[in-house]
Symmetry: C2
């Protein structure tokens, strides 16, 4: 049986760290059934803020609290380090130090994996310790486990995710209550769904980190994250959501990864998706992931809470349980990644929703259509929106067109005398 | 490393068996990456029908085909037996024989698990071999893996499933195309979504087997399957689906399992669920499963194909991969079930949709309402449906009421002079 008591050290006592402690304290009996006959001891908890521990209603843990991460990392008795500091450094350094000293590591840190994942996977392999990260993508959804241990017998062709709870909350409020972006963002902050500085969420960076991880795991791919295009929701306006709905679509921030054999397509951007699709009905702070396998295997869809102390904490603790149950027999699933190119975003294809503000006079449509035609972009439908007046919105749905061509056409169109401005250009995903 | 070559024997070459063979043959390279450095050899395939092997485009496998299950079971070289015969006997006997002789077993057989699961789990434990069954519930959805290895750190309170593809296909056709039950069933047969004899699907028996398995695994419960109430969709008529839709609901065949601490509630029946809910939008041959954890962990929803050669085959093969990767280190997750009572169905509570055909004359409503009131059933809403005439439908939505009371009230109401007949009584699940 080897070790009977497994010692845990936690780095970081923010939201997720507090969730981990809460679950370990309050669900101890349930957890010990799962790791029987072993026991877990919470041996050290580190946070540079001395007051953090007092937020927790567990005075019995005060003696194990420290403000020094090194006290955790240098403790030879600690078997598993939980890194829930977040951000790139010092988290990356701490993770490496832990792995190098033979400790297993569990983390929720998507940024570290996106920027230094392969190096860390290698290090874990070399040290023969586990590096698990279920909580790093779509908190409560056990997608890493599903990809690693259950969806193993067929090729995964595509992964489509709604991977950021903050933006999904904002878009849901805009869609359901007709709020504009700023008001919905404020509401998200008030309700705790957006941080004081929500930049990394609303600009797509958070989703970018997560789709990198899903691509790497689903396709066993070694890819360069810098090649992944990402775009956020800051330019989505109430009017676009309204027009999209009239056309039968919902606007979601999607993260997409396709395996086309030779190369991958991986990107993050807002998208119009059909309103009746399961993914269109994943709302508020929920995340959703669609997995498309080879022909005949059908689609799999997962949804669950995308953030929060308990959803993320639950997956951290389930990773701890996995490590404990594989303590005497090491088998790492995260090696042997195959190098894959990511196709240049300008070379990818999508249908587009385009909203263009024009001066309402004869010949406008012909001029605009001409510009698009010269750039090999053709229209599936054109609808004039709003009341007649000096300036009106025209909404176009294009056929599948090359990204670079659409961008070139939009530049050209923006210069036309009859065009007031390009209102928005949003890709359509016929999921 | 131990054994380098893992020998597989397959019992049964029906739909699922053929899927398993196809995946093992065509995805060999992908699978061998997952079990590196081991290899899989398909050593024997048995089916009592000599012609079955000829359905497969793999002449290289003809020599390993046999009509004798015993040839597979008695082969000392076979490490893993895949039982995909289906039905209770001889499948149960074969599984036991395999486990007793030290072979691991992978199965899709829900009926054997529902009727003899605990005995088989014990036997596997005693023989220190694996008994895995991911494909037995909601084919393509890796729900057993998720419950066993990922949703391990908090208590699961409730599992709600759409677990039968045949009935979901029928209900979807009835709902979307206005077909009646019989026409939708015929279409399901034509398209291969229903068997020639669809009894076990449409009467709820198949869902009953599956919710038994999910209850046992999610709650680690030892329960008596005979206490599980199940009811099928044979009495759902087009008019009920239409009225339900007008009231904001969709009709689905639900399998429900709740853990109330002292006892479980487990049952299968058609239900009205809110139309906008994710589960209401799981259509056609897809299955869906909703997992509700303790407060704060949110809901998890999974959807995927519920049947078919490749969806079921993929989970059988992923179980084979799991066994191979745990070959040298045995840890069985399916033991230590705690005895739990299932609450008597008559003692459970639901709101109801009731459709009652009445003679359209003054005082009818008062008479019916009186009967319900005497049985402690109160109404949330009452709507007269259809055109005025001699006989009209009245549709009632009740508040939560005790099953036994509703049944007693319906018996009483059926005797009233003003009542032509009870059209239908369907439980409402405010999911």
């Amino acid at each position: 049986m080897g070790k009977e008591v497994i010692n845990i050290g936690i780095l970081g006592l923010g939201t997720v760290g507090q969730g981990v402690v809460k679950i370990l304290q309050e669900n101890r009996e349930l957890i010990e059934q799962k790791i029987y006959p072993r026991k877990i001891v919470l041996r050290k908890i580190a946070d540079k803020d001395l007051d953090k521990i007092k937020l927790l209603p567990y005075p019995e843990l005060y003696p194990v609290f420290t403000t020094s991460a090194q006290e955790v990392l240098a403790d030879p008795e600690i078997d598993i380090v939980v890194e829930v500091i977040g951000g790139f450094e010092p988290a990356r350094g701490f993770i490496k130090q832990a792995l190098e000293s033979g400790k297993h590591v569990v983390t929720a840190n998507k940024e570290v994996i996106a920027r230094a994942g392969y190096e860390i996977f290698d290090l874990a392999q070399k040290s023969k310790v586990y590096f698990l990260f279920e909580a790093s993508v779509a908190s409560a959804i056990p997608i890493i486990g599903a990809l690693s241990h259950s969806l193993t017998s067929y090729k995964i062709k595509e992964v489509i995710g709604i991977l950021n709870g903050t933006t999904n909350y904002i878009l849901t409020r805009m869609s359901e209550e007709g709020r504009d972006y700023q008001a919905a963002l404020e509401e998200a902050k008030e309700k705790g769904y957006a941080e004081a500085d929500p930049t990394k969420d609303v600009n797509g960076f958070d989703s970018f980190n997560k789709i990198f991880i899903l691509s790497a795991i689903a396709f066993r791919a070694k890819i360069n994250p810098e090649k992944i295009y990402y775009e956020g929701i800051e330019n989505i306006s109430q009017i676009d959501i309204k027009y999209a709905r009239e056309l039968g679509y919902t606007v979601k921030l999607l993260a997409l990864a396709q395996n086309n054999g030779e190369y991958l397509e991986v990107r993050v951007h807002p998208a119009l998706i059909p309103r009746r699709h399961t993914m269109a009905n994943i709302n508020d702070a929920y995340n959703g992931i669609l997995i498309r396998g080879e022909e005949g295997f059908g689609n799999l869809t997962f949804s669950g809470l995308g953030a929060g102390a308990l959803p993320a904490g639950s997956m951290i603790v389930s990773d701890i349980i996995k490590i404990i149950n594989h303590f005497d027999y090491y088998r790492n699933d995260y090696n042997c990644f195959e190098e894959k190119e990511i196709r240049d975003f300008q070379q990818t294809y999508s249908p587009f929703y385009l909203r263009i503000k024009v001066k309402d006079r004869p010949g406008v449509l012909a001029e605009i259509a001409g510009s698009f035609a010269r750039n090999q972009v053709s229209f599936a439908s054109v609808i004039q929106k709003g009341e007649a007046g000096e300036i009106v919105d025209i909404v176009f749905l294009t056929h599948r067109a090359k990204e670079g061509n659409v961008q070139a056409a939009l530049k050209e169109v923006a210069q036309l005398g009859c065009v007031e401005k390009i209102g928005n250009a949003i890709r359509v995903v016929e999921i």
